[in-house]
């Protein structure tokens, strides 16, 4: 994979074969550090010249090996990435950073450690609550992560280096937000599918390379004349991880523009900057534990409240989704959950209550992370689009 292409074409190229770029980087002498979900701070890897490389599954590849080590009734995204690892498709990684993201995510990390035996491995415990004691605890965990990462990299992670890395990653966050702004016009200047390809590409290359890619994409998208067509449905998509364009493609194909998302290969990791604190670990702690709004973290309107009000609770947990819907003029919401994803599954009725209270039509889709499972959902999506009108 040379570097001849640029912008959207390049994003597509990396998206289609992200391992190829990783192998190239490795051949150039870089070390590639795999990590699961959003919780291992990528800034710490960047600061030590390691390339953070997010682990994904492949919904187009049948799971054959993972079933011998992980039960079939668990999130197929997890089983899929374990399957790829067991088949040697992640053999270029120099290590893996696992985390207690969700229960099955944690367990899959341990299975990876046992069966793949990567040269470097570290498991980060992430609390479920966000109050001060939990933040102190999580900061402690980042310190331990720093220790093992330094010894693997054979150098010290200085505060200066970490701050520089935070700045680069913040730049990426700002660029991603800018990219999302291009989805505000009607028609949006960039489709949901294209956006997903770009974000997935970002999680496969060094941060500066990603920033360069983003700049190219933003310029190209602003200038091009052949962007998405105007469609009456402008959708916000919420839910479990979407690391393949098939679902978004299907929705856009059915007659909608997906203009905004709240998923973890979308806005979730990019919406807030990491604050530049004296001790950079403080900023990272706050960002990863408090800023990132994944349902795996427990939040409430007021810490330790002795009475609960359902609507106030929903408002405190989901008002950012209202802002997304308004800011991006979404007129419908798709809630999608991978079967057996508990963290997202429990949110569904509450979220429906919330969007109903805003008068936003919404529908729930469940799938098992296979391409084939998406076909029957198409009819549901079409019916939903008719409701939106």
């Amino acid at each position: 994979m040379g570097q001849e292409t640029s912008g959207l074409a390049r994003a597509k190229e990396i998206y289609q074969d992200r391992g190829a770029r990783a192998r190239e980087l490795k051949a150039e002498g870089k070390q590639i550090m795999g990590y699961i979900c959003l919780y291992p701070p990528t800034e710490m890897m960047t600061a030590l010249d390691l390339v953070p490389y997010r682990i994904y599954g492949d919904m187009r590849e049948p799971i054959t090996k993972a079933d011998t080590v992980f039960l079939i009734v668990t999130c197929a995204f997890i089983r899929s990435y374990l399957d790829l690892a067991l088949k040697g498709k992640y053999d270029f990684l120099d290590g893996l950073v696992g985390a207690h993201v969700c229960d099955c995510g944690e367990k899959a990390s341990h299975v990876w450690r046992n069966h793949i035996e990567p040269p470097y491995y570290h498991f980060i415990d992430v609390p479920h609550t966000v109050h001060e004691a939990a933040q102190r605890f999580f900061k402690g965990k980042l310190k331990y992560f720093k220790t093992t990462l330094e010894s693997f990299a054979g150098k010290e992670l200085s505060a200066e280096k970490l701050k520089e890395a935070i700045e680069s990653h913040n730049q990426q966050r700002a660029l991603v937000r800018e990219l999302h702004d291009l989805r505000k016009p009607d028609p949006p200047l960039i489709s949901g599918t294209e956006t997903l390809r770009v974000i997935k590409a970002l999680t496969s290359v060094p941060v500066e390379e990603g920033n360069e890619l983003l700049r190219e994409v933003i310029t190209e998208v602003k200038e091009r004349k052949n962007g998405p067509q105007k469609k009456s449905a402008r959708l916000l998509v919420w839910g479990s991880v979407i690391d393949d364009t098939a679902l978004i493609d299907m929705i856009e194909d059915a007659g909608a523009n997906v203009v905004m998302d709240d998923t973890c290969v979308g806005t979730r990791a990019y919406w807030e900057d990491v604050k530049l604190t004296d001790d950079p670990l403080d900023g990272l702690t706050y960002h990863y534990l408090v800023d990132i709004k994944c349902p795996r973290t427990f939040r409430e309107a007021v810490y330790g409240e002795t009475k609960k009000d359902h609507m106030a609770d929903l408002e405190s947990r989901f008002s950012y989704l209202r802002d997304y819907a308004r800011g991006w003029s979404a007129n419908g919401v798709i809630l999608q959950v991978i079967k057996y994803c508990d963290t997202h599954g429990y949110e569904v009725p509450g979220l429906k209550d919330y969007f109903d209270s805003l008068g936003l039509p919404n529908t729930y889709l469940e799938h098992d992370y296979t391409e084939g499972a998406l076909a029957p959902l198409r009819t549901r999506v079409q019916a939903f689009l008719e409701v939106i009108g």
Partner: protein
């Protein structure tokens, strides 16, 4: 009397009063709740809140335990349907869906009154939803989702989840304890605000000591099961486990009953009394049993299957020395953390990095098991995700084969006793084969 003697499983006589006490407790606290006593619904929280709630006079119900009651009496079906129609995905924990459906029925149809069809007197509406950050995600997401029906606050009790290697790093253990202690301190302060009463710290200390002693005696009782023949069958463990897992009410009375059980098991060891007629196979069991088909174990006992150990996660912590620790919250934290992480150092030595699965390896070795009976609970991923891994680990490391059997926590039809019995017969040959294999490899059983 003659009939009793013929039973394939030789049940412990001391276990029945223990069970009776727990049932009576349940009735008493359910009445106290209905009479207006502050009530918590709690997830299984492995001793984190029990002493605290006990001393603060808060009665506790465990919806995770109410699930099997509803399943066994048939009430679950309508609650599950209700949960589905409320829009909760059907792939989630059956116990959670049962409670969500139950709550929708109680709060929306009946304005807070207990549904008349609810088994065992039902669960009165709570003043507190005490959820848990321990292991499974349902344990806090489910209670958060109950906010749709109830205005009760949700409190999450956290337990760190260290990796096997990370737990061995300098400082991690103490950091984890400190985090738990801080969490417990905040929980006590919250509870004081909620019920308008101050904590009596001396009583808390004493209650915690009682719980530790109950668990120690229960642990020692289970240690005795290493004897050949094994004197106590898993059925007795399951009958007796609730009292130790959710110690409540008069703790000293409870302790006395556990001591009696210890004495009975000890007597059996000294006199070589077996838990089944003739022990041919020693089996370790993983996860919760099919509650509605417990008679199935008698059929296996007739074939010589003795269930000598079961899921570590329903067992008390391995005792640890806490002399000199005067702060009851620190005692609670260390105690629960010990339950979770005590086997990590050994797992690390053996280069096994999945702590949850490792416990069974220890058991299979220590209790000299011929086979493992792994009961998959389809909608409880926490209790099931490790089973394939465990099967692989047991055969790879110890040449102990596993029989994997489908089941569920609420869909009782998934467990088919006849089919499993047929498979068990065939599995005996497998166990015989691996017994030889182990001999060849120099194992001592």
């Amino acid at each position: 009397m003659a009939k009793e003697k013929k039973r394939a499983i030789n049940r412990l006589q001391s276990i029945y009063p223990l069970r009776a006490l727990v049932d009576e407790r349940y009735k008493r606290s359910s009445e106290a709740m209905k009479a207006g006593k502050p009530t918590a619904w709690s997830m299984v929280n492995w001793w984190l809140p029990e002493a605290i709630l006990n001393v603060m006079g808060v009665e506790t119900m465990y919806p995770e335990n109410y699930g099997p009651v509803c399943a066994a009496t048939g009430a679950a079906e309508s609650y599950l349907n209700r949960s589905d129609s409320e829009g909760f995905p059907t792939h989630m924990c059956g116990y959670a869906r049962n409670t969500l459906g139950y709550s929708a029925r109680m709060m929306e149809d009946l304005k807070g009154e207990i549904p008349p069809e609810a088994p065992m007197g039902g669960m009165p509406r709570p003043a507190l939803l005490l959820s848990s950050g321990i292991m499974c995600d349902a344990r806090y997401k489910w209670f958060q989702a109950l906010g749709r029906y109830m205005d009760a606050p949700v409190w999450v009790l956290e337990l760190p989840h260290p990796g096997v290697e990370e737990e061995a790093m300098d400082g991690v253990h103490e950091d984890n304890i400190n985090f738990m202690v801080e969490g417990l301190r905040e929980f006590v302060a919250f509870l004081e605000r909620l019920v308008g009463k101050k904590m009596d710290w001396d009583r808390l200390y004493e209650a915690q000591r009682d719980i530790e002693e109950i668990c120690r005696v229960w642990h020692e009782t289970n240690e005795l099961r290493k004897a050949r023949p094994c004197p106590m069958h898993s059925r007795d463990f399951w009958t007796g486990m609730t009292g130790g897992l959710f110690p409540s009410g008069n703790l000293k009375e409870l302790l006395e009953l556990y001591r009696k059980t210890y004495d009975e098991v000890k007597y059996r060891v000294d006199n070589k009394v077996s838990a089944i007629v003739e022990e041919k196979y020693r089996i370790v069991f993983s996860e919760l049993p099919p509650w509605h088909s417990l008679g199935f174990f008698d059929k296996l006992a007739e074939r010589g299957w003795n269930f000598v150990m079961e899921s570590w996660n329903y067992h008390p912590p391995i005792p640890l020395d806490m002399s000199g620790i005067g702060d009851p919250l620190e005692r609670i934290a260390r105690f629960t953390y010990q339950w979770y992480a005590a086997r990590h150092p050994r797992a690390l030595q053996e280069r096994e990095y999945w702590g949850f699965a490792y416990g069974y390896l220890d058991y299979a070795k220590e209790y000299k098991c011929d086979g493992a009976f792994l009961h998959t609970l389809l909608t409880c991923r926490t209790a099931s995700s490790h089973l394939n891994y465990l099967q692989d680990m047991l055969i790879r490391r110890l040449k102990v084969p596993s029989l994997v059997v489908d089941g569920d926590i609420v869909d009782l039809r998934l467990f088919d006793p006849e089919d499993v019995l047929n498979k068990s017969e065939a599995f005996e040959e497998t166990m015989e084969h691996y017994r030889e294999e182990r001999k060849k490899e120099g194992f001592d059983w």
